[in-house]
Symmetry: C2
Subunit: 153 residues, 2 copies
Amino acid sequence: MERLDEIDLRILRILQEDSKKTTKEIAQTLCLTATPVYERIRRLEKGGYIKKYVALLSKNRINRPVTAICMVSLRYHDEGFIDKFERQIKELAEVQECYHMAGKVDFFLKINLANLEDYHDFVRLKLSKIENIGVLESYFVLKEILHTTEYYI
Amino acid sequence: MERLDEIDLRILRILQEDSKKTTKEIAQTLCLTATPVYERIRRLEKGGYIKKYVALLSKNRINRPVTAICMVSLRYHDEGFIDKFERQIKELAEVQECYHMAGKVDFFLKINLANLEDYHDFVRLKLSKIENIGVLESYFVLKEILHTTEYYI
DNA sequence: TCTGAAACGCACTGCCC
DNA sequence: GGGCAGTGCGTTTCAGA
């Protein structure tokens, strides 16, 4: 699949915001009929522009109100150590995001838990069990100002 | 709505992973019929457990491959200044996440853009235009190890 | 690439257990 | 709280322009 035209972008913007919108509704906003909208969405899915459709939960309602940001630096930086760290992080279901960074901090992690005690246990029983961690700094979120899955397109 | 039982949790886990699953399919996995599954999903929506349904896009496909983490500290910390900063950050469509933190860093921001030059412009023309910023440190993502919208429940 | 019509399956309701 | 049957609507396909 090649370039996206303005109609494709408008469809993506709508679906990023609410994937339950029907093709009919989207068609009306775009002054089209359902068929072309349907076909475009299929193309966007097949072309990998749309990765998946998900339900977003309320972290307060499901009792995961505590968000921590954890900055990790490794002791040794051989290829093998970095790959191994990655594999071990992916095993930890509490981790929502993990990025390998440029700069003096190697990794950023975002972790969601029920309370601070669970975070204590998480660090003590899981994170610190990963070998080769040099520095580990934790920050806690006081308030979520903004958290969206949408990209500005 | 009161407590969630194991069936509710299983429904939430499924919808977090793929919200296009039909009630029929979910019913089969849970050894139920469509009706109770349908009613439970409605209750989870009304109860605020499910916030919204969205499409997740591929940031590479839509040309937003650069992710930056930006740490901001304010110069003054009066209530008014913090609220004003929050309001101004929410105006910036490039910012995907923003957290008010405990500790010496006041805010974490995650920003997605097409390239480093756009980040340069973003900082120069938008972020630094916000008054009262004391320290501003930028980190760049080399590799996204893990990025999910799912909570471990 | 779009329109319009037609077929199919699912979402949704009401009734029963 | 779950199962079953019916209806309307959205998804999906196809012919035509």
